[in-house]
């Protein structure tokens, strides 16, 4: 009887983030009449995609036991670079070249990967703590974003017909009524889940985060695995830089400020352990929805920005407390099962 109870509690705890998400949706649909409308849900989905894609990358980094604080600034920098390329082009030796939008997207994704590569190299080869390294690159990228325009906005990212660089705005538009970012989020989620669960690389990421020494003794090149995680994180951040710019129809150097915290929060809410070694993509997706629903729901209910921060903070701490409770319970049940099998 008692065992059945604890198993029920276990199931509830495991699905806790999802249960919280449903409760939140029910709560906000009563609290604000317009919450369950198509318009609102589209807006929520649009925001969730922003946090969600950053959180996908963050999940890989946190699984290896690291952290990436630079993603918010990468969003800003990539936006400014993309906006600059469209509005001003690239001037080399007095000649100005304008790139097509697909070329710009590929270039920006490469820049995101490059920043991730730099983070990963500094962390693994020079042995600087991940927190410090990415804090540094966070400031550097934000500074570069401001330098690009002297702190000003690039207001026209629509491009010019004559120059053949029209089209970035499509990333901020709705396709068949659904924001483009949501499609990107869905595709990247599938790729991320495949990578983590269905490839040797996924195992290696979990192994490095779980026990780096053992991973090395198994012949896994742990440095390469870690660097890959930061490259993925940079790649995801570059996508958000592009999508966010497209949604705003302008590139602003302060874009993405503090978004790394939303990404970390979504990842942790999704059950990824900050000490590394465990985490799931589906958990992170649900975590991103929780963050998105709380943020937009509270805004719609007229909760002040100040209170929103307090509530968000409380939710994150609560999630980790529940996580610890689950772990203890799990350990207790494993011990119980072992004693019974004796």
């Amino acid at each position: 009887m008692k065992k059945d109870n604890s198993q029920l509690i276990m199931t509830l705890l495991k699905g806790r983030t999802f249960i919280v998400l449903i409760l939140l949706v029910i709560f906000f649909s009563f609290a604000s009449k317009s919450f369950l409308s198509l318009n609102t849900l589209t807006m929520v989905a649009k925001h969730v995609a922003l946090y969600g894609i950053l959180a996908l990358g963050m999940t890989f980094v946190i699984i290896t036991g690291g952290i990436d604080l630079s993603v918010g600034s990468v969003v800003g920098l990539v936006g400014m670079l993309a906006g600059g390329l469209i509005q001003e082009g690239l001037t080399i030796g007095g000649k100005t070249i304008y790139f097509t939008v697909p070329a710009i997207i590929i270039l920006m994704l490469c820049i995101g990967c490059l920043i991730g590569l730099v983070n990963g190299l500094i962390i693994t080869k020079l042995n600087v703590a991940a927190f410090i390294t990415t804090l540094g690159t966070m400031y550097i990228c934000r500074g570069l974003a401001n330098l690009r325009s002297g702190g000003a906005t690039f207001p026209n990212i629509g491009g010019f017909e004559g120059l053949g660089n029209v089209g970035l705005k499509a990333l901020g538009a709705n396709w068949l009524g659904i924001p483009a970012g949501v499609y990107v989020f869905a595709i990247l989620s599938i790729i991320a889940a495949l990578l983590l669960n269905r490839t040797p690389t996924g195992w290696h990421l979990l192994a490095v985060g779980g026990n780096e020494k053992s991973a090395k003794l198994s012949g896994i090149k742990s440095d390469q695995v870690k660097i890959l995680a930061y490259v993925i994180s940079g790649f995801c951040a570059a996508w958000i830089g592009l999508i966010n710019t497209a949604q705003l129809s302008a590139a602003h150097p302060a874009s993405g400020d503090g978004w790394e915290m939303n990404a970390i929060a979504a990842t942790v809410l999704g059950g990824t352990s900050m000490s590394g070694g465990s985490g799931t993509i589906i958990g992170t997706i649900v975590g991103a929805f929780v963050i998105g629903v709380i943020n937009d729901g509270m805004t719609m209910c007229g909760v002040s920005e100040f209170w929103q921060k307090i509530i968000r903070g409380a939710v994150i701490i609560l999630a980790v407390i529940i996580d610890q409770t689950q772990r203890n319970l799990q350990a207790k049940m494993a011990l119980q099962a072992r004693n019974e099998s004796k």
């Binding site: 195992w203 290696h204 979990l206 192994a207 026990n211 020494k213 465990s278 072992r338």
Partner: protein, 514 residues
């Protein structure tokens, strides 16, 4: 250049130099084909280091290795594995966060078009675990297994590669039960029939006599002797392992210890191990006033854990402790210090010293409250007390405000001892007090032990060096696998008795019954 059909791998004059120590010194080693090659030596003799070279985990500082008549060089573990060399590590190197089958196939993954083939993994894991007679569900998390099962998973990992030629087993039986050891030996014989060569490191001498074919003995990083097992006896192994050189001066005691009263008595002490079993298993012992009591045992025998229990670091222990004939409730570390216990820990750098503080502060750290007046430090009194200890222990210090790391290892150790003595203890616990210091400093540390015991301080010394403990201790308890296997006194203190008792608790079942 080197060719012998019976030798699968030949090491030629391997040196391995770590900063400050020479772990291997010109060791040559032949790994015989389809035989159980046993490596024996005391802790720190270089067995594991040599195996790390062969498995590609570390690279020799100089020397060469040959396989099939060709020189080989392993840059990393993958190079060695490509040549068919597998290793079962002394410390489990598993991933508790992953499942059994993920652990078994980690970095040996089977894939279809780049995607993992988990049904093949689960099937393969089931097969190899069945062979090991441990049918664990491959989907179980390794962290949920008990230690013996984890050890089996570790062994299973090496059996799934099809091209295995050499299997190195570094103390694979340390956490296995007698039945599990039997299964392991069966597997080893199967492997030999398949032509696979095994290197076997173990402290359990009886096991070696049972399974081994050829034994090589190392001491202090040097080759000592090798022989076929069928030609030798246990005594030969012990004799070569311990060596006959280095004798320490034996101190004569002026106190009549037979008449001295007991200051400490430990009854039925148990300390549980996470994952099952005991770190300390019904330990009973006593200490007399003014006595130097030795605790001898192998690595992991529970020696340091005994001290930790007495210092209040393991509240989960059970058993009774009598101090000055009164039953004592072991409190926190601070309580135990106040009660008159002091410890000189095993790891000087990590547990004994605070590197950022100067010599004086390191010495007075445990007794700072003695120098506080109305809550403020009286630096004059503190300095005078530290100076007193520096004089008494002959610590060579130019200026006590210099950083602690400016001292030699021996003098650093004396500062740690001074820290213990400044708490004015009645019982001093010293864990490997001579580790990592030169021979001159060792002798001085032994003199300090002798001098203070003559003044009535009761001292317990842990040492894994036979010669040392025989020189300083009045009486010796031997711990083996958490059990107290011998109490030796006077003429009974011999190398042979100590070594035999230190293996006695490692049950292959046979000697436990005896």
């Amino acid at each position: 250049m080197f060719e012998d059909p019976n030798v699968v791998l030949h090491c030629e004059k391997i040196d391995k130099i770590y900063p400050g120590t020479k772990a291997l010194d010109g060791v040559s080693f032949d790994l015989l084909k389809a035989k159980v090659n046993v490596l024996i030596g005391e802790n720190g003799a270089g067995k594991s280091t040599l195996m790390k070279m062969i498995a590609g985990i570390e690279q020799p500082s100089s020397g060469k290795m040959y396989m099939d008549g060709q020189e080989v060089y392993f840059r990393d573990i993958n190079d060695a594995r490509a040549k068919g060399i597998g290793i079962i590590h002394q410390e489990l190197s598993l991933f508790p966060n992953l499942t059994v089958y993920q652990n078994i196939f980690m970095n040996h993954e089977q894939t279809n078009f780049g995607l993992l083939n988990d049904s093949a993994h689960i099937e393969g894991a089931k097969k190899v675990l069945k062979r090991l007679e441990h049918e664990i569900d491959p989907n179980t998390l390794v962290g949920d297994l008990r230690v013996g099962q984890q050890q089996m998973v570790e062994i299973a990992r090496n059996l799934v590669s099809s091209d295995l030629r050499v299997l190195i087993m570094d103390e694979p039986t340390s956490s296995l039960s007698a039945a599990e050891v039997k299964v392991l030996f069966k597997i080893m014989r199967e492997l030999l029939e398949q032509g696979i060569s095994i290197v076997y490191i173990s402290h359990r001498l009886e096991e070696i006599m049972e399974i081994g074919d050829h034994v090589t003995i190392l001491r202090d990083g040097k080759y000592v002797a090798d022989a076929d097992i069928k030609d030798i006896k246990l005594e030969w192994i012990v004799e070569n392992m311990v060596g006959k050189n280095t004798q320490y001066h034996r101190f004569t005691r002026s106190i009549d210890l037979d008449k001295a009263g007991k200051i400490l008595e430990v009854k039925n002490l148990y300390l549980p191990k996470t994952g099952g079993g005991w770190l300390l298993d019904n330990v009973n012992m006593f200490l007399k006033k003014g006595e130097v009591l030795g605790i001898y045992g192998l690595l992991g025998a529970g020696r340091s854990e005994l001290f930790e229990c007495l210092m209040g670091m393991h509240p989960e222990h059970s058993g009774e402790i009598f101090y000055k004939n009164q039953k004592m409730k072991v409190g926190t570390i601070a309580d135990q210090l106040n009660a008159g216990f002091a410890i000189v820990p095993e790891d000087r750098q990590r547990q004994g010293l605070v590197q950022s503080l100067d010599i004086c502060k390191n010495a007075s750290l445990a007794s700072l409250s003695d120098f506080a007046k109305f809550g403020l430090m009286d630096y004059t009194a503190e300095g005078a007390a530290v100076d007193e200890e520096i004089r008494e222990l002959h610590i060579k210090v130019a200026d006590k405000t210099l950083p602690i790391l400016s001292l030699s290892g021996g003098n650093q150790q004396k500062v740690v001892i001074a820290k213990g003595l400044m708490t004015k203890p009645e019982i001093l616990l010293m864990d490997e007090p001579s580790r990592g210091i030169d021979i001159g400093a060792k002798t001085e540390v032994f003199e300090i032990i002798h001098e203070f015991s003559e003044r009535g301080l009761s001292i317990i010394v842990i040492s894994s060096e036979l010669k040392e403990i025989m020189a300083i201790a009045d009486r010796i308890y031997v711990l083996s696998n958490g059990k107290c296997t011998a109490e030796l006194k006077g003429a009974d203190i011999t190398e042979d008795n100590l070594v035999r008792a230190s293996y006695a608790g490692l049950g292959t079942g046979k000697n436990q019954a005896a």
